[in-house]
Structure formats: C-alpha cells, structure tokens
Symmetry: C2
Subunit: 606 residues, 2 copies
Amino acid sequence: MRIELEPTLYQSFEDISNPANVAPRVAALRKKLDENGLDAFLIPLADAHRGESLPNSEQRLAYITGFTGSAGIAIVAKDKAALFVDGRYTIQGPAQTDTNIFEVLKTPDDKLNDWITQNLPAGAKLGFDPWLHTPDEVKNLNKIPEENCTLVPGNNLVDAIWGDRPQPPKGEVELLGPNRAGVSREDKLIYLQKTLNEEGADNLVLTLPDSINWLFNIRGRDVPNTPVVLSFAIVPKTGKPSLFVDREKLNATQMDQLGAVLNIVPADQFAAALKTLGANKAKIWVDPTSCPNAVLEILTKGGANLIKKTDPNMLPKAIKNAAELAGMREAHRLDGIAMAQFLCWFDLHCETGILTEIDIATSLEAFRRKEKTLVDISFETISGSGPNGAIVHYRVTNSSNRKLVPGELMLVDSGGQYLSGTTDITRTMFTGSVTKEQKDRNTRVLKGMIAITVLQFLPNTTGAHLDILARQFLWQIGLNYNHGTGHGVGAFLSVHEGPASISPLNNVKLEKGMILSNEPGFYLEGEYGIRIENLIHIVDSEISDGWLAFETLTLAPIDTRLIEVNMLTEIERDWLNAYHTRVLKEIGPSLEGDQLAWLEKATAAI
Amino acid sequence: MRIELEPTLYQSFEDISNPANVAPRVAALRKKLDENGLDAFLIPLADAHRGESLPNSEQRLAYITGFTGSAGIAIVAKDKAALFVDGRYTIQGPAQTDTNIFEVLKTPDDKLNDWITQNLPAGAKLGFDPWLHTPDEVKNLNKIPEENCTLVPGNNLVDAIWGDRPQPPKGEVELLGPNRAGVSREDKLIYLQKTLNEEGADNLVLTLPDSINWLFNIRGRDVPNTPVVLSFAIVPKTGKPSLFVDREKLNATQMDQLGAVLNIVPADQFAAALKTLGANKAKIWVDPTSCPNAVLEILTKGGANLIKKTDPNMLPKAIKNAAELAGMREAHRLDGIAMAQFLCWFDLHCETGILTEIDIATSLEAFRRKEKTLVDISFETISGSGPNGAIVHYRVTNSSNRKLVPGELMLVDSGGQYLSGTTDITRTMFTGSVTKEQKDRNTRVLKGMIAITVLQFLPNTTGAHLDILARQFLWQIGLNYNHGTGHGVGAFLSVHEGPASISPLNNVKLEKGMILSNEPGFYLEGEYGIRIENLIHIVDSEISDGWLAFETLTLAPIDTRLIEVNMLTEIERDWLNAYHTRVLKEIGPSLEGDQLAWLEKATAAI
C-alpha cells in the first residue's frame, strides 16, 4: 500500500545493530586500555561539533555497543562496562547491545559519576577523548574525588580499533544568496564583531555547525537531517575570520566568493590555530556548553584569557529576517501540499487494516519527495500507531513495526528540509472510530495549542510564562504531558534550535521573528498518543503598539473528526475554521480531483 | 455618613508633613556635614530591621524631607539635595517637601548613583548610617568610581539634629501558644539548627522581624500594621539562641517561658555580640539582601567567614501549618462578617452622593473594629473612588479625599490583623450604574482571578508559570495591569511576605500550605480602577495524587452587578455561584435582619 517510491529513502528502518559484534570490539578496546595504562574509557554519542546529527564516522557508541538511539554514553572498564540511556531507550538499549558485556542503566536515576566511583578501582585512570566532551561535562566528571579516579585526556581508543571506520563526510557546500539568507555574511560579521568588541573579546571560537553555517550563509550535506557543513571557525574582533573546513567540499567559485570575506583553512589546522590564539593573554570567547574541552585546554595552555559565554550567534540566528521568513512560508506551503496528499491517501487506506507504520512513514516521505527542492527529511519520522503513539520519541524499525488496527489513533510527527526552509508538523489521525475519552483528550490538546496560537503578548514574556496555557485544559482533569510545549526551529537548519522554547524552564524573552513549534500532546501508555503540532512565528500584534502575536506557518488540516465541538469556545472554533479556510486557500490550488475534494471536506467549517 | 466609631482609628488621613520644616532641618544637617568632614549624607526610608513598617523613631526621611510615602531615599549635599521617589509618588513627593531645597526625582529612570557622580565634587566623602543600608545596597553604591566619591560609614547625622525624636517603641509582647503557632519554638529551632549544620554554618544572624517573631513564636506591637517585636537574634548551630530585645517589653512570666529556650539579651548588646562571633574564623550565615551592612562590617572585622544566603526561615515560614491555617480561616471568617456589613452599608449609601473616600475607609475600619480580636489593620486602606481607583497604591489623605460620584466604580483594598491571622481583600463596587466597557473589564479581571483559583497544578510549578492565567483575558484585547498578580501573606505577621508570589519573575516552587493573594486588576488612568482580590492557600488536589490546588480563604461577595454573565464559561459561573453559596453559609449565621437579607441577595446565583 506504499505509493510509488523514489529509489532511495532518507529514512532507514533497519535495526542496524548486531549484538554479536559487541564482544570482539569491547575485547579490542580493552587491549587498548592496557596498552595506554588506562582503567576505563568513555564513549559518548557526540562529535566535536555538537550539532543535531552525527556523520557515520562519528558513530562510535553504536560501533562499540550496538545501541543506535539518539542519546547515550558508554564506559568500558577492564572487566565491567555500562551503557547509560534515558527513559526512551530502556527497551531498545538492552535489545541492541550484548547485555553480558554492557549493563544498561537508566539516566537520570543512574549516574555515570556514581558508576565510576563504585566500579573502578581506587585511583583509576579514566581515559576520554577531549574533542568529544564539553568543558561543562568534564567539570561534572571532575566532581569525582581524585582518590577515586583521575581523568586522562588522550587519543580516541575507539578510532584505534575501528578498522572499517567510514571516512568523514565530504558533502557539497552551497552558498546562500541574499534572497535566501536575507543578511549578507559581511553584515552578520559587522554585527558579530561589534558584539565581540562590546564584550572585550579578541577572538571568538565557533564549533557549532548551525552557528557557523548561519554566520557565513553556507549550507552543506555532511550529516542526515540537518543541511550543514561540518567546520570550525575563529572570528577575530577585527579583520577576516577563518573557516576551518575540508577544502575539497568547495569548488573554485565558492572558494573565491567565500575567500572575499574569510580565510578558508584546512580543517586539520584548527588545533594549531588555537595554540597561538591566546598569545599576549588574548581574551578568547568560547561557549562552555558546546565547545570541545580540547579547545579550552589548548587555549588555556597557550595563555588565553577565556570568556565563557553562550555562542553569540544563538540569539540573532533565532530571530529570522524577512527573507528567511519568506522561505519558511514557502517551505510550509510545499510541505502542506505533501501533507494534504498524504492525509488524503491515509484517509483512503487506513481502514483496510493492512497499513504498517513503515508504510505510513514511507508514503509520507514519498509525497514530500515529489517536491524537487526537498533535500532531506528534517528528522526521522515518528510514525506511531495505537500504543506506539504514546511513545513520545518513537522511531519505527523493522522489528518494532506494527500494523495499524482501524479505530486506533495514528500519530505522525515529521518534517522536511526544503531549499527554502525547514518544517516540523505533527498530526493525529482518525482511522474509522474514536472513543469519547480520546475525543475529549484530543480536544483538550487542541484547545491548548490554540491558546498559544491566539495569544497576544507583551515584550519580556518567556516560554516559561506561556507553557501553562497549552497544558491548562489537561490540568483541569489532572492530566499532563511530559515534554516541553515547543522548541525553536532553524531556517533551512536544525529542526531544533535555541535559545527560546515554550517550556516551564525557558527564561529567554520571546522576540519578533522567532519561530517555535507549538505541540502539546497527551499520552496514555500502552493505549494511544495524541499530539498536534504547528510551527508559529512571532509577529507584531495588530491589537496595540508594542504587543506581539503568533502567525501560523504550518498548513495542513487538523482532523475535525477527533474534536468534541461542544468543548470549544467561540474563539477556538473561529480560529480553527479560519485556519482551515486559509489551508484550503493556500494549498487547494496545488491539488486537483479527489485530493482537492478531500481537502475541501477536511477543511470544512465546524 | 460614617458609622459610629471607636475613639481612635488605626489609620490616619492627615497630611502630616509641613514643607516649612524642611529648610531649618536641612540647614542643621548641613552643619553636621561640615563638622564631620562630609560632602553629603544619605537618608533612606529604612531601619535596621527591614520589616514592612517603621516605628516613628525611624522616620528620618519624613523628618528631613517632609515626604511620607512608603518608599524613597534622600541625599543632602552641601549645596544640593535630592529626593528619589517611585512612580507612585511623583505628585505627593513635590507636594510634601520644599522643592527649593529638594529636587524630586523619579526612580528607576533617575538613579542615585548618577546623581552622586554628577552633583558631588570629585573625591567627595559620602556619609551613611551602616545600620540602615544592606550589603547589597552598599555594593551598588560602591560601583561609583573611587575618584568620584568615597563611602564613609558613621553615626547617623539626622539623629544628631533630631531634638524631639520619638523614643523607640516598647510595644507589649505576646507569646503564641501551640494552638496559635502550631509548632513549638523548640521544634522550629531543631529544624533550623539542622539546616545550619547542613550548610556548615556556626551561627546565623537574624535581623528581619517577621523571621525572628515566627521562629520564636512571639508577636508584638512595636510598629503599625505588622504585629512584631523589633529585635535581633543570633542562632548558634547548637545550644540556646540569643534574642536581642528591649527587656522592658517582656513581663516576668514571659521572661521565664522564653528563657527556657533562649537567652534574652538587651538590644544594645547586639553589636558587641557580633564582634566576637567571628572568632576562630567561624562561619556566620547572614542574608545580604536584608541585614544591615554594619552587621557585615562588624562580623568581617571580627574574622568571620561569611555565608551570604537568604534567611533560612523564609521558606518554612511561608508554608503554614494546620494551626496557622485554622487561624487564618477564622480571621477570614471574622473579616468576612465585617466586609459583609461594610458592603451592605456601602450599598445603602453609595448613591447619596455624600460619601467621601475617607468616610468609606473609616466605616470599613469601624466594622472591623467591632471584632474584639482585631489588633490593627494590616496596611493602610486603599479607598479609591472613580479616577483614584486607577492609582494602584492610592492612599487617601485629607487633601486628596474626594466624594464618590454615584455611577463611578469604587475600589477598596484593605485588611485586618486579628489575633487569629492576617487578611487582605480587594473589592470593586457598583454604585448605581456601570458602563459596558467597565463591565467587560471587570469580567475579564474576574475570569483571570478564577483561572488562578480553580487551577489544579503539578509540583515544580511557580508563580512565573501561573501569572499569565490571570492576565490572559485582558491580553486578549491588548490590555494589562502593571503589578504582580499576588504576594505571599503571613499568619498574624506581615501582609506581604516572600519567598513565593504570583509574578512573571518569581521562580519559587509553589508548595502546599503557602498562602498567596490573587489580585488581578485593570486601571484606566484618570477614569477608573478595578481589582478583585482573594487570599488563597495551597492544598492537595483531590484530582490525582501529588497534584496541588487552591482553597480560597477570603469570604466576601464579589459584586455580580459588574459582571457580564455571558462572558463567563460554565466552569467560571459554577465557581462563582459555589463561592457565594459558601460565603452565605459561613458568614450568614453571624448576620441578621437587613444585613442578612443583603448578603442573601449579594450571594444569589447568577
């Protein structure tokens, strides 16, 4: 029942791990421990860039443990080993690794520091790769008393045994013109160097891919889901910045164009450049939450005076300019066309009882791929039928894949990377019948989403203030959802970005131009999951000078068959009807025949 | 039209200042500047205790400037002088002082530090009384570069010229028994000393009156509105604490009872005790936001190792025990009886056109004073008719007093100190007619108040999260109020207390037992003011284990003639009707005749 497909899928559903590999690889690693006089070695799921996605060449955790989840850390000692995963992966973790070798522990209840204290011999030497841990992480490890264990930075022992390690990616680079970037790299640099001067910093070291790609108006194809060029950068308070990148990724024209603004330096010269940066006690700005500890060590050894502060690109990057917003609107129009086709297809087939979660994810990707400016999906599609919908970060694999039973709720959270922008949308779909309880819960989730959407608010309002509006209708009956209400979204960049979010803990002021997701949900373990997600962006409110409001970017019907209309206020019903009118107006002209008829029905007023 | 009164009123409406006094007093103070080799002297509105109210003996700002507002600071230099007041007092400030002598400036736009830098000669010596400024305040003054001015702590020059300075208060002390305090002073001490040991503190210095009075289960009559004994205390990590207090306030029985738990030391020995406290580098806990800078100086000079942290009694004091809650409920029942009588009286007379704001405040106090356990009002009644209702902290005086014009809104914010507890209530009253706009605004304010009241919430929720619920209906139409939504309230203590509040900036977790005000409002400058305030306290929610909810303490009708019933949801209408049913049930039995008939009508279902 899949629609006709392009030969390659962005998403894979393979269970790529083989627990049988674990024993020989751990044995090889332990040999390296002995050779290096170490008692244990840390294997985090991270590279030096700390972007949202890792290239295959950096998948050390999966290589050693078999575990392919999106977060985790392992430690291999001489006769013990542990894999720490969070609550999402307590089933997948043990299933993918060899549990005779790795004890799988659940964070945050189980703590790496405790494990180290309890399992390593007194005075143990713990090896780690300083390019894969941030200063904040190292600081936390250093809380272990020295009599228990000493940290030993050094070469990565996994790389030493990884015979068939993939090459680092050499994805093509594209330079964004003014019509896509909105602000030239020269102007961004002027603004940034002004900030450096205000802060008294002589140089800024950048290691986050989305920060560097945003600053220089470049994009790449190095990692899945996020269109970035992996690279480092050093920005002096005056003069040309240096971009440390594999020069093979750039063609001659690009070298010329970029070269006018910055020095293009081979990536392997980054460490050497850091060594001399601290001369004369220069003040160097680094972000201790994301830069590799190696960067800090090299700078400090070179005499630098460190300014430890958040990457200064984070806030300006979050505030989208007119060209970025125009691109994001276009991306959402294109995504809306794909979503309408997908939802129409789903509606037609969901009651057959033969659709699997993989069929559904695959078909959605196929509809998206009909648009030639799609370059990737923005994250692995969450395609959760019935009880799998209740697993917030569910990723379907061949082994978890199940058939949708008509009458179950179907939750699909997905997004695309179009040349024009990044999308992220969740819809929960009717499949033939719905219980009174599900309808009630879905309506409360929708009311919460609308409460955020229609809000007019004052400057100095933060996500921590807004969050309760999305939860209030669930809280009325003692229910909640265990995730934030929304995250920042990049413009043809990371689908998750800071600094703002809609969460009880986020104290960043919401500003005009920011794009956020708005995705309350409700999950009944073992039964069903509901989430409704639109992207919204902050605009001037028409209500009064200085007030702010949200504009919705996402354009796709919200399933009205799951709504208890009597529970909606007039404001809520009016919003939904106006939204559906807009969806039909903007998406309808791109559809025809049955699909258009379906959209007309799906967007009919309630 | 005032009702029959007791001979004395707690509240005074006098404009007690006389601008003619300013010139000779400032001249005398300037003579002292010369004698002491100083260029200027600071006169804050503060005593060493930083409680909510000051005794007359500490009213130095009013003595020098004539200004009697509730916040401000003055500086007198050799040929210039300035009085800094906030936005509430930009009219009252200039009216009460001699503006030929004092330039009246508005904070926070005008800054004391800027004035000092711009008006004092280079290298000026700025005198101040270190008992009247906190370390945080001194730290802020020290931001002025040394070449501009040096801070010189010393004796208070105002005291040196204040011939008829009142004696410090010698109010009677009462000891609270277990039925009122709920927890014995011995048990509170065990808990506090456990905290000191956990923190590694050898001694704790307490200077806040409500902290000390709460800890030792004592109350006093030293200052208006807040029933505290002014005193200091030192609590060692083990053994008896010392209470520094004017021993004349205590009778022999009280000396014996308190003496069993603590050392009663004459107040003037406090400084001497601090001198030796730091011996052997002892660790001394002080609260830098409230303790006098003199305390810090003496401790430091004595070799102390300071732990600068919030007063550890703040949080346990805010979490009321069963006896305190029972007392607060009783106080609100008593206050509800007075409020019902007052509102009935007001309803009968408001359309005569002869009631003044002072008549209204005076009558309300008279109704409260019929209850013999009333010992004070908890703050000066805000009695604002028509446009005066829009002044958030309005205090009526003989010169500001105006007649209520029937048809205007009348706002009364008031409270009582009963032996059983402290109340704080605001009602906005109908006076014969109401505009459509006023009804709309009042209904939005009420909806906001109800949104907080009916909320069921999870642990880790803070006032910053809740605040938007109270504002949301005003925000819908681009309106707001410029104050927090609610503050903590003490149990027969300060009517304003920390650490929790309902405000966009408060990140203290809300806990079971806390009492807060819930008082959204709306103010149209020059036209009218609306505020509806109940006290609420946090209880376990019945909805689900671990959830929290609010119970309303305040018992008085909310004027239904100001409500646009169509704007209420079913939940809101149900809440209001249930609340009124409860008010009638709890207050009705204490009324009879016309007053009972009035209450029945006022609490009738809508």
